[in-house]
Symmetry: C2
Subunit: 329 residues, 2 copies
């Protein structure tokens, strides 16, 4: 079981340590990389040896971060994990399992953190690990340089969808203000992080919009991608995942559906709903499950079958919602 | 000529006034409406009679703002304009020309403000008029209520593209923090303001992506809409205008082109460039003009002619940039 520690203890542990290895989570995002890079820069400004390690390669869009990648040139004597909620998230490449076994300190903002580290600073109210480090780094006695501020802003902005997601708080905005004052070039960073879409992403959006259909007086919108289309577009992972929010983002749409054909021909269906209908109720009736506003299920058989089955359940749920909305129904 | 005034003078003028008419600009956006609504709520909390007037109807997406619309039930004795940079922006409906002739006070963040009001508080460093009012309203002695905060957050967030545009400063984020603490429900507001796209917008994006073409090793991307397509989609104004940023937003694209056919068959071309090429140089050679990164021109003749002409100029500019980048070229 981990020991929960406060900022003061974290500061004293880091000031007392040297030859520090900073671990990020696999499939790294802006927060784990930005936080790792910032902490590493801060520790090196204190004259310490420090480097960052991640199981997976650094994605091209984060290549601009000034990250000192661990190359085995020192023997780590203190291991810190940033933004890593559980031990399975370290990944298994780059000798990672060996280091992940003995994590001295964890700095994280996931309330669900499993407590794998010897000591942990977990603040579930923070929007990003970078929000925690925006106060921790000055507490270490290190000034927020423009470089450090750019790393932290990257974490803060990407984890909040540029201050749009529901995890954004007053403290998040105050941290952003502090980072801008410290010299983070947010005009360049925002363009890099939010204005740039890959060819694959454009192709995925094109396919999705071509297939867009409306049902039930435009209360339901559906996009549909066949296995062949997905392969031809060379679209995968996050790009496909992001599309699932598209149909529900259309004005007046209460239920958004994304049908993606799998290799075996079956259809994976993502259901997103507004606050009048329950996505999980819809998905559960087809053997799936999830959360009230985001759920999923899988249907075998051809596209017509899949569409028919899911649209039937959507209709029932929309009818139920309409009845519930009527007074004295 | 207007008299520039400071916060203190604005506060004393507003505290001394009653029967106050607040004017917004035509084609109203989130900032003019949110700022107008917030100021009106604040003045009414002080026991004053106040209402908001706009030449154009309030767009559906801002219908949630608690705006007291001026209905002629009092004779205005003091006229304040919010977020209105010039007299031509008042519009000409709703008796507007009559009121716009004698504006007592203007509160604005456009450095280009023409100075039409008797007294003006213009702060070009503020991202939105709402940023100014976030400090002005408490200076009036009125607490930022959740309602007032929601109106001001709407102005702040829409004018900055949710804190993404280059006008966003540390002060903007501090204002946002203050509004969240005052009770603005930013989760609901952000969903309403940023997660919702109209059918027409989706249709415009679909058309644009269908027509997307890459040139010159993907350094140039072009979208192209014919007059018939634009009519069929029922897309106009802001939705079409927004599309012009799409081609340049693709990874690796230095020059983004949007060709829109006009009613007379000619093509209106929008040119957007990165920091290696000059959009204005490209457009100027075809009789157009604009800014270094955003410019435009018009070409008569058929689509092939228009494409050919603009692509030729793009190639010259890309070649020039490539040469300039080579050392000792």
């Amino acid at each position: 079981m981990t020991q929960s520690v406060d900022h003061e203890t974290v500061v004293s542990r880091l000031l007392g340590a040297d030859d520090i290895l900073i671990l990020c989570h696999k499939n790294p995002d802006g927060d784990t990389l930005g936080s790792g890079a910032a902490l590493c820069l801060a520790l090196r400004r204190l004259g310490k040896t420090a480097a960052v390690l991640c199981s997976d390669p650094i994605p091209a869009m984060y290549a601009f971060l000034p990250i000192t990648v661990f190359d085995g040139s020192f023997a780590p004597r203190f291991v810190v994990a940033v933004d890593v909620a559980g031990i399975q998230l370290f990944g298994d490449k780059n000798n990672m399992p060996r280091y992940a076994e003995h994590v001295d300190l964890c700095i994280d903002h996931h309330a669900s953190n499993s407590g794998y580290a010897y000591e942990s600073l977990v603040d579930g109210s923070a929007a990003a690990a970078a929000e925690l480090l925006t106060s921790l780094i000055p507490e270490l006695g290190v000034e927020l340089t423009p470089d450090i501020a750019a790393c932290l802003y990257t974490g803060l902005a990407t984890d909040t969808g540029c201050f749009r997601f529901t995890n954004t708080t007053a403290a998040t905005h105050r941290a952003a203000a502090r980072l801008i004052e410290a010299g983070a070039d947010v005009a360049t960073l925002n363009e890099r992080l939010f204005e740039c879409r890959s060819h694959a992403r454009m192709e995925a959006e094109r396919m999705a919009l071509e297939s867009l259909e409306y049902y039930y007086g435009d209360r339901c919108a559906m996009i549909c991608l066949t296995w062949d289309q997905i392969q031809a577009a060379g679209v995968a992972g996050a790009e496909l995942e992001d599309l699932t929010s598209l149909p529900r983002s259309i004005e007046g749409v209460e239920v958004g559906l994304t049908l993606r054909q799998q290799k075996d021909g079956s259809y994976k269906i993502s259901v997103r709903t507004g606050n009048q209908t329950n996505a999980c109720s819809i998905a559960r009736r087809l053997g799936g499950g999830g959360h009230p506003r985001a759920a999923g299920c899988e249907i075998s058989g051809n596209l017509d079958n899949a569409k028919h089955a899911i649209l039937d359940e959507v209709k029932k749920e929309l009818d139920r919602a309409a009845q519930a909305a009527e007074p004295d129904a």
